[in-house]
Symmetry: C2
Subunit: 578 residues, 2 copies
Amino acid sequence: MTVLRSFSEHAGTLLKGLWWRAYSRQHLGADVLAGVVVAVLVLPQSLAYALLAGLPPQAGLYVSILPVLAYALVGSSMTQAVGPVAITAIVTFSVLSPIAVPGSAQYVSMAAALALMSGLMVLAMGLLRLGFLASLLSRPVVSGFISGSAWLILISQMKLMLGVSAPGVGAWGQLSATVAHLPQAHLPTVALAAVSVGVLVATRSALAPLLVRWGLARGPADMVVRLMPLAVVVLSTVAVVAWELDTRHGVAVVGQIKQGLPEMGMLLPGLSELGLLVVPALILAFIGTVQNIAMAQALAIKRRERVNPNQELVGLGLSNVVASVAGGMPVGGGLSRTAINVAAGAQTPLASVVAAFAMLALVWAGTAGFARIPLPVLAASIVVAAVNMVDVAEFRRAWAYDRADALAWLGTALGVLVLGLQGGIVLGIALSLATLLYRASTPHIAVVGRVAGTEHFRNVERHGVETLPGVLFLRIDESIFFGNLRAIEARLMAELAKLAEPRAVVLIMSAVNRVDLTGLEALTDLQRDLSARGVVLHVAEVKGPVQDRMQGTALLAGLEGRLHLSTNAAYVALQDRG
Amino acid sequence: MTVLRSFSEHAGTLLKGLWWRAYSRQHLGADVLAGVVVAVLVLPQSLAYALLAGLPPQAGLYVSILPVLAYALVGSSMTQAVGPVAITAIVTFSVLSPIAVPGSAQYVSMAAALALMSGLMVLAMGLLRLGFLASLLSRPVVSGFISGSAWLILISQMKLMLGVSAPGVGAWGQLSATVAHLPQAHLPTVALAAVSVGVLVATRSALAPLLVRWGLARGPADMVVRLMPLAVVVLSTVAVVAWELDTRHGVAVVGQIKQGLPEMGMLLPGLSELGLLVVPALILAFIGTVQNIAMAQALAIKRRERVNPNQELVGLGLSNVVASVAGGMPVGGGLSRTAINVAAGAQTPLASVVAAFAMLALVWAGTAGFARIPLPVLAASIVVAAVNMVDVAEFRRAWAYDRADALAWLGTALGVLVLGLQGGIVLGIALSLATLLYRASTPHIAVVGRVAGTEHFRNVERHGVETLPGVLFLRIDESIFFGNLRAIEARLMAELAKLAEPRAVVLIMSAVNRVDLTGLEALTDLQRDLSARGVVLHVAEVKGPVQDRMQGTALLAGLEGRLHLSTNAAYVALQDRG
């Protein structure tokens, strides 16, 4: 409840609200320019992600219009751009391909229904202020999930880059089928893909520093780098047309794209098919939510803005609901899309509004020119983007800081590969919770003594301290709950056994934030147990909320007079009696 | 690992070990008497629980011989008695009745296989020192589970007490079928059951005080009360024989029992049937483990002894393995069986050894006399025992102390009724974990100030304290992890907004026992974020293990010089600068 309350309290300050009311004229030029640049640059990847999702290429263009507009007006991030993105595309393909044939009319209508259902779910989550649910996943798990998904995308694109038809079920099936078809690789296709990958990788890492050395400013140099994928697509398409690579040499191309403006509306699948989509929609909603919020927050930190997770969900949900009738493909917050937006100088969501209208203009002008874009080049650009989604840096940080977090990363990433996206996300949640439980059930417990001449108590193993004969001062650095009682009791008994003539145990509870009922009853038993051995139980530094809760329990009644405000008070009392 | 290590370290002291080597002659008389008394008293309930499990009545007698002996020699509790018990009986019936017809040869062989498989699992858990897994369940959940099972037992016995045949699937199915058959209730059966219940309840609550008032000592008085179920069975059987209640009035009786000593050995079911039993065996192993350890510990506390969970599992597992070939019914640690043992004066496991031989003698002498024990009377004794398993006191304690624990009790108990035993146990684990996660994700956070003239810092809402203008002292009373970052950040920002000219935030981490990678990265972001607003982040009282882990991270590097050993040091430093 506290979370919910704190969110609603701050809704007022956190809400982006009506950004256009407070729009500052000085941003206008930058926003218009950024919008046009984004529309042009994201065009090839919009086609590519639609194909990745198993949908007709124009779907990617259509959902770059109205859904983008919807998010711009409602979402909470100032510069995040939504649209057809890699994660939602691969999730769409993963959940739909087992129940419908990709590219079929049934598949198309189910994709639209999926966008609608998951959009409504996300919208409901936002309106019900359930944005905090996204914190069910730790950063390493989210990062591992995105990395695993990137590997899935890589595997799915290999056959396009090899020019082979290699149907296989699951990641391993596809991978082994592709490897088995290696000898049949189509050479012109492989050459085109290899050159594209080479150019993209080379320009990505080396071009910007080179341009800067040649006297270009950092900003424009970055922009040139971001232009390269478009340049590669344009040049390769020119090559296809010039040398008839498609008709004469068998290089696969995008093919005929439906002309003209998108029709609004959708064909709802039957009720039984909608039933099949409930779980997939839930998965898509959850993944989309987590990814979107994580990205919006990362971006807000960089730009020193604040993000409201619930507002963010309302924007994402509404955007998907609109996408279901205006394009029919689920959308999400895009990493590269947003990066292009920021790099192009966008200052406010007006940039996205402009981008939506620019895309509308491009679609209106005609999409015939896109028909001969070579597929291996689009696949190459997806692959290069996917490689950048693999976040090995997070894994390394986790490995250095906390092995359990590193294992959670690895487990989730491998889980996505071996069990699929659904299995991976479930494994990730399970790993998050297991780590939490394991940590809490192996608490840090320190035997402490008094630093001479002070009232401070420190670990006897780390500091030279004074102790009282026959008295055990034990600091429990964890909330006491059903899962760690055995560990606490075992440690207490072991330390007690080391004392020659034990007469008292002082439990220092300064780091005990909660004691559950099982813990309370176990402490009560412990007190009785110790007392039977002639050892007196004292407690010190019990926190206010913990003590409030203990009022009237058998434990507190039995402790009368032996509950000390500070460890030093307990020390002094026991010293006098000793 | 700490848990495992501490267990093995103390194995030497905790092990009951070879109790007979250190056997004290003075206990001999008490143990022999207790053994004989237990054998006689548990005889009717052994028949009843075998019938409850869907097995022939003699199975309950057979598993009261060798399995009891096995546990007596290996188990860790001095006075716990194993044998056919209510919980394992109802679990056996619940998991087997959907896959085989109760009473059929296939059912009998599957029950034996179930005992073998779950026994091997429990044995392996004990040998692998996995006894700590039993702590995956909190006390309220275990209590709720046993209470829910007791309701299931009540429902299952109602048709026997009404003398109707009311087949129904699940608890509700059986209940509604029984209610629907109420008009057909068999009057002599109902009368016999009602009188039995009345006598048992009345003697249970009123007899002992009455006997004490008449001058009997408390011990013998309790023994007389424990004799009552046997007396009721004997008297009702005499009534059946005298008035031919079974042959002439249609009261159901136990029926012919196989004569002579049990044959050793078992008929293993086929491989495919064994496959069906894996999950049921796991469930039985888990439930048996949790119940057995919980009971052994409760008993050990009362008797000021210590229990070794792993040794306990070895005893329980071995006992079930033996039961699979010597009777063919899963066994467990019995509440009433143990209570009888203790009340009869048992001092060591020798009492159980004697009880096993006494039962052997009874079976040898002949079981023909048991054939005309009336079923409604056995059902009545089971029902009275089951009512005592419903632990409403624990629910009340939980309600008073912590609503979340109370809801976990209620959820588990209702889960057992509505979803069945398996569903109930899964729901219980889920509730335990959800409670844990919810508590950790809504941390207690206090704004503190200095108690004038001291170095102590206390909650500004609870105490009159000094503060520094523009400085926020925030104590976080919870480990920082992915689940509570939003709550912490929201609170921090809200408190900061209350300050006129914020210049510094001091995070007091005395109760922060761990910071996971997500938390570390969020703190790093927070530091950057605050610094951009002109607010300096300080931290104080970081625990040793937390600080060790932070060595070399970006957070610690950025905090240089602003990590204070005590809150007071931070206060003094900020006062000087203020």
